[in-house]
């Protein structure tokens, strides 16, 4: 082989990695970063849906309107409440389920399949089924409460229950995912360290605290991050069940965004809602990242 041929090959080899990452980069550019930057710009204009390309630049006008609008705070509150409760309840239930299913028992495979059901069903289908169950006249929940003698409830149309009803469906969907992630972590807990704790005189709870929990904590944290981000941007369940009502009590930022864009026809304003939602999601990710970095640093000391 000639020297120039060798040089040529090494030149090709140098370019090869770029060739491999080019397709995903193009994909991300076209379908993510370009729309995102467009949305960011749009949030600074008064674009309306009737003529999306004729928006006028109005600076921070949309954001000014946003912070003066009580509906925005209502929406922010709904988002935060919904997110926090989903994470807390969903992760707690998921972890408990994972711990319960980690030890072998009869019919474990069946139980696991049943527990995973909520996660496997598409969001829209699940929401429609739950919509039937929540139905005030003929839903199974009101049948049960009537049988119990405590009357009917307006599950989705009362400001007291709507958010709770939406939460129940969300948790039903989210907990199995958490369970799967935590179960995977549980199965890699080193058996010898557990045994060492037993020899050292730790009882079940202490062994859990000293060995199991530290081992699965990164997985729980990751699951919590994902659940939080998903909750901030969840649309299907909420929109199908309540459409953001009653009186905006379940109108999270994403639902509000849709309403502003396609019912209020204000694309600029909707973009501003989107920007707030994005900022919220990034904040959660930043917290996760900081905590993770700290733990890594502590562990390597």
């Amino acid at each position: 082989m000639s020297v120039s041929g060798l040089k040529n090959r090494s030149g090709m080899a140098r370019l090869l990695p770029y060739a491999f990452i080019l397709p995903p980069m193009i994909y991300l550019m076209v379908f993510m970063f370009w729309p995102l930057s467009r949305q960011m710009y749009m949030s600074l204009t008064n674009t309306r849906i009737v003529n999306p390309n004729r928006g006028r630049f109005i600076g921070l006008g949309n954001y000014e309107r946003l912070i003066e609008d009580p509906a925005f705070y209502l929406s922010l509150k709904a988002t935060l409440t919904y997110t926090v409760l989903t994470v807390v309840i969903g992760v707690a239930l998921g972890v408990v389920a994972a711990l319960a299913i980690d030890r072998p028992f009869k019919g474990r495979a069946v139980v696991r399949a049943i527990l995973l059901f909520g996660w496997a069903v598409p969001g829209v289908a699940a929401s429609l089924i739950w919509l039937w169950m929540y139905n005030e006249r003929s839903g199974v929940f009101n049948r049960i409460t009537e049988l119990l003698g405590i009357g009917r409830f307006s599950w989705l149309t009362s400001t007291d229950y709507a958010l709770g009803s939406v939460l129940a469906v969300t948790v039903w969907q989210v907990a199995p995912f958490v369970m799967l992630v935590v179960l995977a972590a549980l199965q890699s807990v080193p058996q010898e360290v557990r045994e060492a704790a037993r020899i050292d005189g730790a009882d079940g709870i202490s062994t859990f605290r000293a060995v199991t929990l530290p081992h699965i904590r990164p997985s729980i944290q990751l699951a919590a991050l994902l659940v939080a981000v998903w909750s901030i941007r969840r649309f299907d369940i909420i929109y199908l069940l309540t459409g953001g009502g009653p009186l905006g009590s379940t109108s999270t930022l994403v639902v509000k965004l849709r309403q502003t864009a396609f019912e209020g026809h204000e694309l600029g304003m909707a973009s501003a809602y989107g920007a707030v939602g994005l900022a919220l999601a990034l904040m959660v990710a930043a917290i996760h990242y900081t905590v993770e970095q700290r733990r890594m640093k502590r562990m390597s000391r």
Binding site: E195, A197, I199, A210, V211
Partner: protein, 386 residues
């Protein structure tokens, strides 16, 4: 202080029997080594003593009382795992103090928040803090107390595991191949450290290993096991000098004992087929048997001077001594087309005799250094019983 007694202890996993009717006594204060190849059931035995594995049948007695169902905590044992099994998120200090903290733990400390406060205060309690520090000093871990296991070397982790075992001052130490993850040099060092430790604390040690050097150097008594069955129980010297069967003879010693098939033809001894030897001493009156002699009991001579003519096949120079692998000249060498060397007879000589591979030489032995074994079951044959 517990003296342990195994009374026909067996362990089966499903249909697979790991330990079959194991009988043994472990005396107070001794350093007992369970020696055997991988999968011979020695680790399972250790885990039964610790209470980590159930006993399928038979009794395990601690000082005469049946302890089959005792919780590990009740047995008062310390266990050093092969992988050290340190708590990765705890500092060295917390790792060492963990058994003490657990001893002082009350049920209601499990409550949230109370737990954090209680642990924090227990760690700071004078007796626990002092005990932790003194053990850390003894094992030279003091500068590492605030580090985590991930940042320690293998030898340091090993010492932390030992410190955690020692801190409670238990009566019985169980060590499961604790040195097998260390490099050769560190292993030698830790070997003497553990021996010294046993002398200092004077407690019972049960040590599992597949390394006969560890067994020989550390043990006061060795149990040699194979396939869940005890082969021999004795002191290292006895096991080395008087192995009960060919398994023990081959497993203990490096290089292993030379075992050469022997036969008797017209009252003359023949080794390795056709090599007639003037044994000049009594030998068992059997047709076939195994002739065993330790490598250091053989002597190397120029060709023609010793009773066993041989050819040098392997030379391993170890500095102070040299191990030479020889092929016995039985008169059939020319048919031997094999590439690998089997059935070599090893001689251990001090210094470096400067022999070359392929060189002709001869070997000789003293008749009273020879051990005889049954050719079928491998058991030792005693001359006076014949």
């Amino acid at each position: 202080m517990p003296a342990l007694t195994f009374n026909k202890v067996s362990k089966t996993f499903g249909d697979h029997s790991v330990i079959n009717a194991f009988n043994a006594d472990i005396h107070d204060g001794e350093f007992l080594v369970l020696l055997g190849p991988s999968g011979c059931g020695k680790s399972t035995l250790l885990r039964m003593i610790a209470g980590l594995s159930d006993i399928t049948s038979g009794d395990l007695l601690f000082d005469g009382s049946v302890a089959n169902d005792w919780e590990p905590k009740k047995r008062g044992v310390a266990f050093v795992f092969q992988t050290y099994a340190l708590y990765p998120h705890m500092t060295v200090r917390e790792n060492i103090a963990f058994p003490l903290v657990m001893d002082a733990f009350r049920k209601w400390y499990h409550l949230p928040i109370v737990n954090i406060v209680a642990r924090h205060r227990l760690m700071k309690r004078a007796d626990i803090a002092e005990r932790t520090l003194s053990i850390a000093r003894q094992l030279e871990l003091e500068p590492l107390l605030d580090r985590r296991p991930a940042s320690l070397s293998g030898g340091q982790r090993q010492r932390v595991a030992l410190a955690r075992a020692l801190v409670r001052n238990p009566d019985l130490y169980l060590l499961d191949e604790p040195l097998s993850n260390l490099d050769a040099k560190l292993r030698t060092q830790m070997r003497s450290e553990i021996s010294a430790l046993h002398h200092k604390v004077g407690k019972t040690f049960v040590y599992v290993t597949h390394d006969q050097v560890e067994a020989m150097t550390m043990a006061t008594r060795i149990i040699v096991m194979n396939k869940g069955i005890v082969q021999q129980v004795d002191t290292p010297d006895e096991i080395y000098d008087h192995p009960a069967n060919t398994f023990v003879a081959r497993f203990v010693g490096s290089p292993p004992m030379n075992l050469i098939p022997a036969s008797v033809n017209n009252d003359a001894l023949q080794l390795s087929g056709k090599l007639a030897v003037d044994h000049a001493a009594p030998f068992p009156s059997r047709r076939h048997m195994t002739f065993g002699v330790r490598p250091e009991k053989l002597s190397l001579h120029p060709a023609g001077e010793g009773r066993l003519p041989a050819q040098v096949a392997v030379v391993e120079r170890l500095g102070a001594e040299t191990v030479i692998g020889c092929r016995l000249m039985t008169g059939e060498e020319h048919n031997d087309q094999r590439l690998l060397e089997h059935d070599l007879v090893f001689v251990r000589v001090s210094g470096n005799p400067k022999v070359k591979i392929g060189e002709l030489c001869s070997l000789d032995y003293q008749a009273n250094d020879v051990l005889w074994f049954d050719i079928d079951n491998g058991d030792r044959i005693f001359l006076d019983q014949e």
